[in-house]
């Protein structure tokens, strides 16, 4: 079964600083990887996704993520954080060999942005 680990529960960065949120997955074959963002009291919004091909994927709101098979990682990055980026971020993995076709989520990383 697949699993996702987000090692950082909480991260604080200054506005304008760069950001990297870590995600490690466990899955035997090529995974389908996603990053979602959740504002307080809201549902999850898809930021970006990786299926195959170019290992650097671009998403909405200036985010990007890089798939590294050798490290089983899919870290999310943003060169300059804005105060509106404060939210909780979830990494998720999907698999092609399970009938339920659901995503497995990490426990999330809460991002605080300091002015």
């Amino acid at each position: 079964a697949q699993s996702v680990t987000q090692p950082d529960i909480h991260i604080t960065v200054s506005e304008g600083a760069s950001l990297e949120l870590r995600c490690n997955y466990s899955y035997g074959a090529t995974p389908y990887l996603f990053w979602y963002v959740q504002s307080p009291g809201q549902g999850l919004q898809l930021l970006l996704k990786y299926f195959s091909g170019d290992t650097l994927v671009q998403g909405i709101k200036g985010f990007e993520a890089e798939f590294k098979r050798s490290q089983s990682s899919f870290n999310l990055r943003k060169p300059s954080v804005h105060w509106s980026d404060a939210a909780e971020y979830f990494c998720a993995v999907g698999a092609s060999d399970t009938g339920r076709r659901a995503l497995t989520f990490g426990s999330g990383t809460r991002l605080q942005v300091q002015p």
Partner: protein, 114 residues
């Protein structure tokens, strides 16, 4: 375009009372439908999923049940709520045709059992 609606947005219920949360999807046919629960400070736990009318799969044994009476309607229920049922419940849909399509979430229901 496709939209997903969940209601109510918030709910406070006493222990032992019944529960019914509803989710509907518009703009797509035969979607895969999902119920997730999010406990405070934790990730999302898959509760149920459905690939068609009347077809429900349960991921974890619990006090809850799900039903899909219509193609684009997904209901989460309980006959008697427990304190541990408190949490944030999220409904999601996904295109059925491919494994790699993302989930699209509703805005969630905050359930507090008192």
């Amino acid at each position: 375009s496709q939209t997903i609606h969940q209601w109510p947005a918030t709910l406070v219920q006493p222990v032992g009372s019944p529960l019914s949360l509803e989710c509907t999807v518009e703009g797509t046919s035969n979607p895969n439908l999902y119920w997730y629960r999010q406990a405070a400070g934790r990730g999302l736990q898959l509760l149920f999923y459905s690939v068609g009318i009347g077809q429900i799969s349960s991921e974890v044994p619990q006090n809850l049940s799900a039903s899909r009476p219509q193609d684009r309607q997904f209901i989460l229920s309980s006959k008697k709520l427990l304190l541990s049922d408190s949490g944030f419940y999220l409904c999601a849909w996904k295109a059925p045709s491919s494994y790699n399509s993302p989930l699209h979430f509703g805005n969630g229901t905050r359930l507090t059992v008192t």
